[in-house]
């Protein structure tokens, strides 16, 4: 199993939009957003099966998600995460003095992490904000 260096874009997907309106604490939102969409050949090159759990690391953070073959085809070398709590764990906050973070076009390393746990959104956000009390208050 190999790690890959890829270029990441994070944008909207209709599945994410629908789940977001259902609620960000729902299982639906969790299911559709905890994925990284990759070219099938890139997944092969990593020597992992599709839907394997991976760790995505950028210059400013890391997140555990599932690697899937892109619903909308990514060329090799490009990967996509649906804009969400998980994608934003790795989006660099630098703005080129425009106010807009680097949501698209930043380098990431994707490596297999088959035994890692995908963390729910609330836990991620509360931990980052020092407000995690050890249990999920919002059932999924």
């Amino acid at each position: 199993m190999n790690a890959l260096h890829l270029n990441m874009v994070t944008q909207r997907a209709v599945e994410e939009g629908e789940a977001m309106e259902a609620g960000k604490t729902t299982q639906k939102y969790f299911d559709v957003c905890t994925v990284i969409e990759m070219n099938a050949d890139d997944i092969k090159a990593m020597e992992i099966p599709p839907n394997a759990i991976v760790k995505v690391t950028s210059e400013c953070g890391e997140v555990i998600v599932k690697a899937i073959i892109a619903r909308q085809t990514c060329p090799r070398g490009l990967c996509h995460m649906r804009q969400s709590v998980w994608a934003n764990q790795v989006v660099p906050p630098r703005t080129q003095s425009t106010g807009e973070p680097q949501y698209s076009g930043f380098p990431v390393t994707v490596e297999p992490a088959l035994d890692a746990r995908i963390v729910p959104a609330v836990e991620l956000v509360q931990k980052a904000c020092n407000k995690w009390n050890g249990k999920l208050l919002w059932p999924m």
Binding site: V9, K24, N88, P92, T95, E100, Y103, A128, N133
Partner: protein
């Protein structure tokens, strides 16, 4: 008895489809017709069990307790007065009445007033400041356009009915063949579902849109020979083919999206897109439009321009005049630099949509109020969460479509549990602020709020520089 309400405008994306048919019974929504899958979900969400029906305050143990509106309003008003530079951010999902009321509150509070455009089409504003905005309403595209370009925009996913109502398929007055009379060109690094609906797909190398625009401009201006053989991954002959289609068009329209604003270059990508439109106008009619995300994210730009002269990133903390300087007064940059001392998250979710490295500096350090109908990520770390009525479902009001056409929204059911609208809430916050000021409460930057839990799992926050 069920009631059928027609011509309801949808509170999801900037396409603002106003042809929804909603069936309601006893204040519950039974059925939604004509809406896309996302819009439908919004209406059903309103009737779902487990909605928040009262303001809530975070307790020391991390749980939440219901409080009254008066208490929540008092908390918010005190916070706004005491803070030296509070940030009020969001507004993509509110109506203009709420945005105008928030403008009055922000001015009284000396706050920074910003909206989601700050992380969305803010770059487009920067380009518009420099170059202008030769645009049109969506009906012009429907009735006249025979060449339509989606550039860095995945309408099929982000604006699900955009292509059927405006861009690709509709039969308009001068375009009665519908999509068969239209050439549709999509430019994107991914082969998106929008690209699948197009006649031509240009798979631009991610982050190299500027180069490709530049090549188009060279062709339009007659420097064909100087265009390299491959630009941004696109062969020259493909570029020339597309340019010929553009030149032959009677009416060319470009829709552009986050692909330009979120990538390297930001406003420069939009700037050159607008300049390309100027060039094409020398040859044939051409217009351009930003694919605005939320149904009323154009609203704050419009409302605050008439109130303060600026569309976003408005620093009112000087008290004497408004000041805008994106990069300095933009929400993410303010958060990155730890420059604000209170935060109101309204009609958006900074918790989910800011980079976490920016949001954690707000969420862990400053008092925070979230104003939103539902539990979102920002609400899960706020000191106070105030639910409000859902625009387009429980209250009406004016919202601006992506082409800045005002769409009048309707309420289809009464507000859940009698919760307030954004406008009512902000008006009451303003009144409470004026009362507190006469009582002698003043801005001192001191504010006690729900402290982070003592039993903390250590997390990484960079030390202060």
């Amino acid at each position: 008895m069920s009631e059928v309400i027609k011509n309801v405008a949808c509170p999801y994306c900037g396409a603002c489809c106003d042809d929804l048919v909603v069936t309601v019974e006893n204040g519950k929504i039974l059925e939604v017709q004509n809406a896309c899958v996302i819009g439908t979900e919004i209406y059903h969400h309103a009737s779902r069990e487990g909605r928040v029906g009262s303001p809530r305050m975070r307790q020391p143990d991390g749980t939440y307790k219901d409080i009254t509106y008066d208490e929540a309003i008092d908390y918010t008003a005190r916070m706004l007065i005491k803070a030296k530079k509070p940030l009020i951010y969001g507004f993509g999902s509110t109506n203009c009445e709420g945005q105008a009321a928030a403008g009055r509150v922000a001015e009284e509070a000396g706050a920074v007033l910003d909206n989601c455009a700050s992380i969305c089409h803010g770059s487009s504003f920067l380009a518009i400041f420099d170059t202008g905005y030769p645009s049109c309403t969506l009906g012009e595209v429907k009735n006249r356009a025979d060449v339509v370009i989606y550039w860095g925009s995945n309408a099929a996913h982000a604006h699900p009915r955009h292509m059927s109502r405006y861009g690709v398929f509709p039969r308009g007055f001068f375009t009665n063949k519908g999509h068969r009379g239209r050439k549709v060109i999509t430019v994107d690094p991914r082969y998106t579902d929008t690209a699948r609906c197009s006649d031509i797909f240009l798979q631009v190398k991610q982050g190299h849109d500027y180069d490709l625009f530049d090549a188009f401009r060279m062709v339009m201006r007659g420097y064909v020979d100087d265009v390299p053989e491959i630009v941004a991954g696109i062969p020259k002959e493909k570029i020339l083919e597309v340019c010929d289609i553009i030149k032959m068009g009677r009416y060319v329209h470009i829709f552009f999206g986050m692909g330009l604003c979120h990538s390297d270059g930001r406003n420069h990508n939009v700037d050159i897109a607008i300049n390309l439109v100027r060039d094409i106008n020398e040859i044939t009619k051409c217009t351009i439009m930003a694919m605005r995300g939320h149904y009323n994210i154009a609203g704050p730009g419009v409302v605050w321009s008439w109130q303060f002269g600026f569309p976003y990133c408005i620093d009112l903390s000087k008290g004497s005049h408004a000041h805008m300087n994106p990069g300095e007064t933009s929400s993410v940059d303010l958060a990155n630099r730890g420059e604000v001392d209170a935060f109101i998250n309204i009609g958006t979710d900074a918790g989910a949509h800011f980079p976490i490295r920016s949001f954690e500096k707000l969420g862990s350090r400053v008092p925070m109020v979230t104003i939103d109908p539902s539990v979102n990520m920002a609400a899960t770390v706020s000191d106070v969460h105030i639910p409000v009525a859902i625009v387009g479902v429980e209250t009406g009001g004016i919202c601006y479509r992506m082409d800045n056409v005002p769409i009048q929204y309707r309420a289809v059911v009464p507000p859940y549990n009698g919760i307030l609208t954004d406008e009512e809430l902000f008006n009451r916050i303003l009144n409470r602020m004026l009362e507190l000021k006469t009582e002698g409460i003043e801005c001192d930057g001191k504010w006690e709020y729900a402290k982070p839990l003592p039993s903390l799992i250590p997390v990484k926050i960079e030390p202060e520089a």
